[in-house]
Symmetry: C2
Subunit: 476 residues, 2 copies
Amino acid sequence: MALPTQADDFPAWYQEVVRGADLAENSLARGTMVIKPYGYAIWEAIRDALDKRFKETDPPHENLYFPMFIPQRLLEREKEHVEGFAPEVAVVSPAGGEELAEPLIVRPTSETIIWDAYSRWIQSYRDLPLLYNQWANVVRWELRPRLLLRTTEFLWQEGHTAHETKDEAWAEALQMLEVYRQVAEDVMAMPVHLGRKTASERFPGAEETFPIEALMRDGKALQAGTSHYLGQNFARAYDVQFLGRDGEQHLAYATSWGVSTRLVGGLIMAHGDDKGLRLPPAVAPHQVVIVPIYRSDDEQDRTVSAAKAMAAEWGAAGIRVRVDERDERPGFKFADHELRGVPIRIEVGPRDLEASQVTVVRRDSGEKTPVAMDAIAGRLPGLLDEIQRSLFDDAVAFRAANTHEASSYDELRSLIADQGGFVSGAWCGDAACEAQVKADTKATIRFLPLEPEDPGAPCVVCGRPGIDTATWAIAY
Amino acid sequence: MALPTQADDFPAWYQEVVRGADLAENSLARGTMVIKPYGYAIWEAIRDALDKRFKETDPPHENLYFPMFIPQRLLEREKEHVEGFAPEVAVVSPAGGEELAEPLIVRPTSETIIWDAYSRWIQSYRDLPLLYNQWANVVRWELRPRLLLRTTEFLWQEGHTAHETKDEAWAEALQMLEVYRQVAEDVMAMPVHLGRKTASERFPGAEETFPIEALMRDGKALQAGTSHYLGQNFARAYDVQFLGRDGEQHLAYATSWGVSTRLVGGLIMAHGDDKGLRLPPAVAPHQVVIVPIYRSDDEQDRTVSAAKAMAAEWGAAGIRVRVDERDERPGFKFADHELRGVPIRIEVGPRDLEASQVTVVRRDSGEKTPVAMDAIAGRLPGLLDEIQRSLFDDAVAFRAANTHEASSYDELRSLIADQGGFVSGAWCGDAACEAQVKADTKATIRFLPLEPEDPGAPCVVCGRPGIDTATWAIAY
């Protein structure tokens, strides 16, 4: 299997890893994908980590499910929202004859149908807050689809909360941003910046969009998740009023927040190397693979049975372990497990058995160490933790090496063109300067810091006094 | 709240329980529903019980995800399948101008798109078996929708497996039927009959459909899940050939199997009584609710803090417990938790505190018992088990009391009309006799036994020699 190197052709490398590691493939309808079992198992691990944290907040979030068909008129109520999404929605009609009295769209996101329901569910401040989330598929017609990163249909979660006050909604949006940070960094080992989006990059209908932004190994940025403070826009559009503690009617405050199967694409590009995927143990479908090595039937019997005994023991201790008994040469298996990013490979040959040891190979570093058989079980949990941490540290170091500061427009342009990565500099807040950078370099402002930084410094584009420090990158 | 009695108006009772217990509600597009948090939590418990068992089979099943958009031409390849589903499919087209080169349908089930992919995934017997499942939403345009039982969009799992031999596929279909039985009986406490469907009731494209059939408390039957042996029909339609051990090309054998959110509707109707839901502890979102009872602020402080201490202790022991601190009268809370089917209610008042006891009320039997406070934690797990078993035993007894045998056509008709429930009798195997019973009584053959029973006995309809014992019922 000929994996292109990342340096030679990163897009081809990505495509080949997705294919070769059996993560996903294109399906028949343009822009749709099949998420294959290995890719889906990674998504399940990310999903479970998120779901657990949603349910553990205080007060907890609960899951529910809204239909995917939304009457078109609902979409039209919030002006910015419809302008943002109308061009990419799919329209549905039943076959078998009957025409629909009103067109239905397939949800591109569910604020509209959910806030229409909230107008019936919310009467009094006693009904607040509503802290709901759903796991669902959504559809956005994509012109330039890309497996896992941008597909016509994708899987995601979307949280939709309603609150009595602005402060509470604002705190909720930031709380969920922190949950996303935890899952990105602590589970996926993918460092992210938390920030605010500029007006031009906000979710349609949001007053503030807080992203988590990650850096991929080709120096491009990936918006990996967003949490939105929606103010009273949706309450106004869907007439969600409640009787307040003061006896008056008020409009509810809203947030929404979502991450999707795009995270799996981010995981590949945040950690992968020229041999393929490198999976953090917390999301790896198989954390350990044991490869028995033999030349004769007798050796096969002995190494396979030793491998199975170890796998049974470690499996009972909660480690996800697989014995690779396929009828293939060891070299083929090694390359396959490297491509699939299995964190630890254990080789057991007849000589290992004689020496009562195994050979442990780390996927992250390639390091190969003999370990005594009676010590290995005790060593695995610590080794998995170490690999998890080392992948995170690697990614942090990569990001640091690919983050630069620009103090002039020439410098900004050359850093973006020559170095890639994140480039920060002062910004005056004018959308015209933002647009000029995009036109000249293709880079966009990925985020502003959560609190404005270094106001007054001269804007790197126009030289007028800046209001904040912006971070640019070319993004997926 | 005026819950109609089951005897007076079962459909109104059902509707009011679904509404009052906050399980689901109608959404805007005809036939679609919102699954509310309490209903969704029940579905999550059922889903997790199934998912765990799918993954624990040997060899295990794996989850994956196929797109919901299927090119219409794919549906047309398997003749019976398209005839079965074409009338109820929804067709989609992108908005924003562009017309599609070929129409896409929203999946009513995914055999077509999955077997099209299997034609690329399966080359050799070494690629078999494929044991895959997906959790997904599907759409079937319904003319007579009913919350949770029959909705235009519903959530389900669909397993799709491919095998080398007929025997293996047949065994797989039965293995998954047994998984469905375990979840229905051991988790949902809902006894089910396993059997075979007659040709007229089979899944379109199946050679054999194995249902689990349950009895609801109005005497109607519910098809709660189905496992299909599909023979080589889909392999033929989608050209899924593999190189066999004999060096020849062969068509693969298929199964598919599914259960849906309809199970939640079945749960309601299998256990509910005139006070509302009765939930088996294994699927109850709250297994125990503690209601503090007080008249003064001081009493409130003491009973609420005692309730919270107990809840913290039991929660840590893995019991799903909730303290009802709402500002409502105890009588309101009791009725609410009865409506929602919470298995155990604990009342704690000031006199209970003085006597170091609590009052335990079982939802299944209504039985009220004082229990010493230092004994209650130890008693709860056993009590929950007892309630789980007792709901199952109740349902088994109800089914036994509502199962009859008919030895003549007059008897069959009067049993169906007067008694309801399951009515069994000999059947000659002729579809004409089956159709006549349906025309005369609205009852259909719900199942034949897994192995033919009592062949030779005279058909209850026509008197000719029977080939099997059929079981009729009026069904949802």
